[in-house]
């Protein structure tokens, strides 16, 4: 088998998103070149113009919204051995999920007020609501260190499982003063870690971009908010910003 044949063929596909997560990859610099020793990138709209349907790993960026996107995604699923949901829009619906709070007409009026043209707004969904996802790389944008770690692990056949614990775990190791103690509302206690508490470490609150914990402590979390003078309803907007898809799904369960 020639060296070329051994290379894993990787393809990137973008759906409803800003393509910022794909751009993150270009910031990898040398690490990106290292990855290329083992992989061949066959589809990557942000960087190359060639296209191919022959690939092993498909990175799906963006939320799935329209019927034509569903068909396109299903074809990718058939072609790929592994599907990686890449970035918040793909893993949890992300900001696109906000659209779920409105009817088609309301959404159109908010985004394009007064404009008369046919617009298919679609219904935003994370990738796993449409096809089976093998691996999840959360974040808005994705964390490059995690992307490289995951990719290496997948290439080695180990696969990758993101952390299941809260951002607080990483935040405390950085010796940050808790933002709740400073009178701010932070999504850290209910949000999946793996970002190395980036936002709280730089003076911002956590926005919950990596998704709500799989198993949050219901009473504990409610008590926590109450301790600082909030209710879940008070901070509904904080939950909704990235996690509307999840919140809606939980409501319908």
């Amino acid at each position: 088998m020639s060296e070329d044949k051994k290379k894993v063929r990787i393809a990137f596909f973008d759906f409803a998103c800003c393509e910022g997560c794909q751009l993150q990859l270009t910031y990898l610099n040398e690490a990106f070149l290292g990855v290329l020793e083992h992989c061949e990138i066959v589809n990557f709209r942000e960087v190359i113009s060639d296209k191919s349907d022959d690939y092993d790993i498909a990175f799906i960026e963006g939320s799935i919204t329209r019927e034509c996107d569903v068909e396109r995604l299903k074809k990718i699923r058939k072609n790929a051995t592994y599907i990686i949901a890449y970035g918040s829009c793909a893993t949890i619906g992300g900001i696109n999920g906000l659209r779920r709070r409105y009817t088609d007409e309301e959404a159109k009026e908010i985004v394009y007020p007064g404009r008369e043209f046919p617009l298919e707004a679609g219904w935003p969904r994370p990738v796993h609501e449409v096809v089976k996802v093998d691996f999840f790389l959360h974040g808005c944008p994705v964390n490059n260190d995690e992307v490289v770690l995951a990719l290496k692990s997948i290439l080695l056949g180990k696969g990758y499982t993101p952390p299941t614990h809260a951002v607080c775990v990483e935040c405390k190791l950085k010796e940050n003063v808790c933002l709740f103690e400073k009178g701010q509302v932070c999504m850290g206690p209910v949000t999946r870690a793996g970002c190395d508490a980036l936002c709280p470490s730089w003076g911002n609150t956590c926005y919950g971009c990596r998704g709500i914990l799989d198993n949050p402590a219901e009473q504990g979390q409610t008590d926590l908010l109450e301790k600082y003078g909030y209710t879940v309803d008070d901070i509904k907007e904080k939950f909704d910003l990235y996690n509307t898809c999840k919140m809606e799904a939980d409501k319908n369960e």
């Binding site: 083992h38 299941t164 809260a166 775990v169 003063v177 198993n215 402590a217 009473q219």
Partner: protein, 346 residues
């Protein structure tokens, strides 16, 4: 060993003296809290401080540490690549010194941890005695860690316009010497002075736990099935703050991180926490401590019961960090008092 005086105005000279051959880390203010950090001069240091966010264990046992390297296809790992420069931990509280003693007990005992041992050899500890209790969370009086006893190379006690420094080891002897700022004082005189200061100090320190030092093991022996754990578990959000900030929590995870060209990689160890759901998860989808109540109980037993049986030592230093850092207001004082009350009522 011996005692010296240091004029308070010479504190920076002492720091500069230490810095000649050592990295000096000391408590510095971080917003309204404190952290141990590298310092350049005495001005950066806050001597009167609430226990730091993370305890000084982070220097002995870093949150993320590369242990060695390996090459793919070979079964042998390199000898340790841990590197450390001679470091002085300056102004550690007695509770934290007790925490270091706990870690030493664990990592120096057979099987000896070579990485820890290598670092520990390079660290000198200069303590700073608390003359005032810090807050409602600390239980140092019951845990008997509020007065300097052992585990330090030198200990500083505030005596008005000067510090009395007790030199307690060869390391301390080498550090606190060869400088006219250190004025030798006769042991008897220094001891007498410290005795007076301590008598005045002890009057200010309250006992917060309803159980005494000697009652605690018995209370824990009888409280495994207490309902208290259920209540604590309901409040816990598994943020892992309590274990990260604990000076005696030493659980870690290990993983191999391969290089990008996949020719080899590094073995790393990172702090882990028994409060996280995946901590006690094993193959076959089994989890030995699936419930938060059992995870919290486990934490308390790792402080007040198991180490007493294994090492004849409490692994709670009374520093109060777990209570201060808890997102869910789980208080060690309250929990231990609750099981004590249950126990004494029976």
């Amino acid at each position: 060993m011996r005692y010296v005086y240091l004029e308070k105005s010479d504190l920076d000279k002492m720091i500069q003296h230490l810095k000649k051959e050592h990295r000096v880390v000391a408590p510095v203010a971080k917003e309204n809290l404190f952290v141990f950090a590298d310092v350049e001069n005495a001005e950066e240091i806050t001597l009167e401080y609430l226990p730091t966010i993370l305890p000084p264990k982070k220097y002995f046992f870093p949150p993320k540490q590369v242990l060695g390297e390996f090459t793919m296809g070979e079964t042998k790992m390199s000898s340790t690549t841990v590197e450390v420069e001679p470091t002085v931990i300056f102004a550690a509280h007695t509770c934290d010194i007790d925490g270091m003693e706990c870690l030493h007990t664990v990592f120096r005992n057979d099987p000896v941890d070579p990485y820890y041992k290598k670092i520990e050899k390079e660290i000198a500890v200069i303590g700073y005695e608390c003359m005032f209790p810090c807050d409602e969370c600390a239980t140092c009086v019951t845990m008997d860690t509020h007065v300097p006893k052992a585990g330090y190379d030198a200990m500083m006690t505030d005596a008005g316009d000067k510090f009395i420094i007790h030199i307690n080891s060869k390391k301390g002897d080498a550090l606190i010497s060869n400088n006219p700022i250190f004025k030798e004082v006769e042991s008897g005189t220094a001891k007498e002075e410290i005795k007076k200061l301590r008598a005045a100090k002890l009057k200010k320190f309250d006992v917060k736990l309803k159980a005494s030092y000697s009652e605690l093991p018995g209370i824990f022996a009888d409280s495994y099935d207490s309902d208290v754990w259920e209540g604590v578990g309901k409040r816990c959000v598994s943020c892992g703050n309590c274990t990260a900030v604990c000076p005696t929590c030493y659980c870690f995870d290990m993983y191999d991180e391969v290089k990008l060209d996949i020719s080899g990689g590094e073995r790393k160890r990172v702090w882990d926490s028994c409060q996280l759901e995946e901590f006690a998860e094993v193959a076959g989808n089994e989890n030995f401590r699936e419930e938060r109540s059992s995870r919290q109980r486990h934490r308390y037993y790792r402080k007040f019961d198991y180490p007493v049986k294994k090492y004849n030592k409490f692994f709670c230093t009374g520093c109060g960090r777990c209570t201060r850092a808890c997102m869910a207001e789980i208080s060690l004082v309250e929990t231990v008092n609750d099981i004590t009350k249950e126990n004494k009522n029976v």
